[in-house]
């Protein structure tokens, strides 16, 4: 079994593509059911962690910008750590992620174990 990080990104800026309050409310159940389903398979590798929505960015010239939006509109909405045998299984799990229906994407990275 390997550990993978799933990073959820979507555009949180463009006004036209933002979900309505009702859609956000509905998506809450989708997220909870999806996460509950992963937990029911005992495939959560780490406890869930909520992240502040604002954040800061340090740029190349070491200036600090408020908000996680640098040059691109897309920002991290959250991330989870899961257990899966390989990338195929991790992709299958990510396929159920509600962010995909909100125009977002999931980046998957396998944890590398061993010494440096």
């Amino acid at each position: 079994m390997n550990e993978f990080v799933l990073i959820f990104r979507r555009d949180y800026i463009t006004k036209e593509t933002q979900p309505s309050p009702q859609e956000l409310q509905d998506s809450l159940k989708l997220w909870q059911d999806w996460l509950g389903g992963i937990a029911a398979q005992d495939k959560l590798a780490k406890p869930l962690q909520r992240w502040d929505g604002e954040g800061k960015i340090v740029t190349t010239n070491k200036s600090v910008i408020n908000g996680p939006y640098a040059e691109i509109k897309e920002a991290i909405g959250g991330l989870i750590m899961i257990k899966a045998t390989d990338y195929d299984e991790a992709v299958a799990i990510a396929n159920g992620c509600p962010i995909l229906d909100q125009g977002g994407n999931v980046e998957i990275r396998m944890a590398v174990t061993g010494t440096y």
């Binding site: 909870q32 509950g36 389903g37 029911a40 398979q41």
Partner: protein, 411 residues
């Protein structure tokens, strides 16, 4: 109360108090002395009361005799007394004689100290439960063996080994400090939770014994609530959970000791008083920032006290199971979560999720699949029920599975 019932009743209520006070006084190395003196006290009561009749105040009589027997023991064993006097400075300073304090406060303090001693992680939880039943609940070795579905020798050895381990680790029987409560309360609650489950889910046919186990777990949890330092939200949540579950005790077992499934229960047999108590403790648990698994499980148990199958009920149960699993995985929670998912999102989605669980050693996994496939694909339903039948050991579960298969065949 009938005379013949009085002594067993007193044994159940007073044994643990006297033994706790004496253990608290004597320390971990002398648990057996405390047990001997307490047993002697009850033996004297059995002998004398049958001849001379029951004294006016039986409890006070027991306390006086226990005190005298302790004093006599200390006189006869002056070496032990001297050692004790040195160790127990607070009493030795005040008077020459060691005081045996059977006041309500000292009884409560002693029992709290004993709970934290017995539920010490130096022992396995299995050993902790046996020791708790023996020392804190006044259960005999035979009763404990019946509860665990094993024989006396196994339990006898388990308890003695557990005592030895506490002595080797030199565990002090003392009031837990605030930081100890924070560090150790989880272990204590786990043991009380398992003690309750032992009674609630035991396959033992002895219904009275099972009820007693549940009642004892609740009593010990209540003891923590009565003490201001341990009256914490998670403790209230645990007691709430126990109240909700035990409200169904009379409805879930028939006169032959067989289990009646939730959906087939006569809800007029549900104990409303316990349901209300459960709600009260759930409200008391709803403070602070820590959401324990007992909060979530109490929430799930609360919704199960609502017999009517509303979408709101199953939606709430599903979300509570989702959160419970995210907090702590367990196969039974995963299976129950999938059952709730079938109620809210439909059987087809639940089948896909159920098959991902892959709990192929668990009979309930196949029973769940059997239930989900019923009316969707009856051939697969029967296949799954038959797999469940092959791997279950419980006669009660076998009967339920066969009933389910017959229901499909008759369609």
């Amino acid at each position: 109360m009938e005379e013949s019932q009085l002594l067993p009743h007193l044994f159940r209520t007073e044994y643990r108090k006297i033994v706790s006070v004496l253990c608290y006084l004597f320390g971990i190395d002398n648990i057996e002395i405390a047990e001997d003196i307490t047993n002697d006290t009850f033996l004297a009561a059995t002998e004398l009361w049958s001849v001379k009749g029951i004294p006016e105040n039986p409890t006070a009589w027991l306390y006086t005799v226990a005190k005298n027997k302790t004093k006599n023991y200390l006189k006869r064993n002056s070496v032990f007394e001297q050692k004790l006097s040195v160790e127990i400075k607070h009493t030795a300073n005040k008077s020459e004689e060691i005081e045996i304090d059977l006041s309500v406060k000292n009884i409560n303090d002693s029992q709290l100290a004993m709970i934290f001693t017995v539920c010490n992680p130096a022992n396995s939880t299995e050993a902790q439960i046996a020791l708790a039943l023996n020392l804190l609940c006044g259960f005999g070795i035979q009763e404990i063996a019946d509860g665990f579905l094993t024989n006396k020798e196994v339990i006898y050895k388990r308890i003695n080994r557990a005592k030895e381990k506490l002595k080797e680790a030199n565990i002090k029987i003392e009031q837990p400090t605030i930081s100890e409560i924070n560090n150790r309360l989880e272990t204590v609650l786990t043991t009380l939770y398992l003690l309750f489950s032992e009674g609630y889910y035991s396959t033992s046919q002895n219904t009275i014994l099972r009820k007693d186990l549940c009642a004892e777990a609740m009593r010990l949890t209540f003891l923590l609530i009565e003490n201001p330092t341990t009256n914490l939200p998670a403790v209230n949540a645990l007691l709430s959970l126990m109240c909700f579950h035990s409200s169904r005790f009379d409805a879930r077992i028939n006169e032959n000791g067989e289990t009646i499934l939730y959906q087939d229960q006569d809800e007029t047999l549900w104990n409303q008083e316990l349901i209300e108590k459960g709600q009260l403790y759930l409200v008391k648990a709803s403070t602070g920032n820590n959401l324990s698994k007992y909060h979530l499980e109490a929430g799930i148990a609360y919704w199960h006290t609502q017999k009517e199958d509303t979408p709101e009920k199953w939606q709430n149960i599903l979300q509570l199971y989702n959160r419970l699993l995210i907090l702590e995985y367990s196969p039974i929670a995963a299976l129950n979560r999938t059952f709730a998912l079938a109620k809210t999102n439909g059987k087809k989605e639940a089948i896909i999720e159920a098959e991902k669980l892959n709990l192929t050693n668990n009979p309930f996994y196949y029973s769940l699949l059997g239930n989900l496939y019923t009316d969707i694909d009856n051939k697969k339903a029967i296949e799954n029920f038959e797999k469940a039948l092959q791997i279950t050991n419980s006669p009660a579960d076998k009967a339920t599975i066969i009933k389910n298969i017959n229901l499909i065949i008759r369609k």
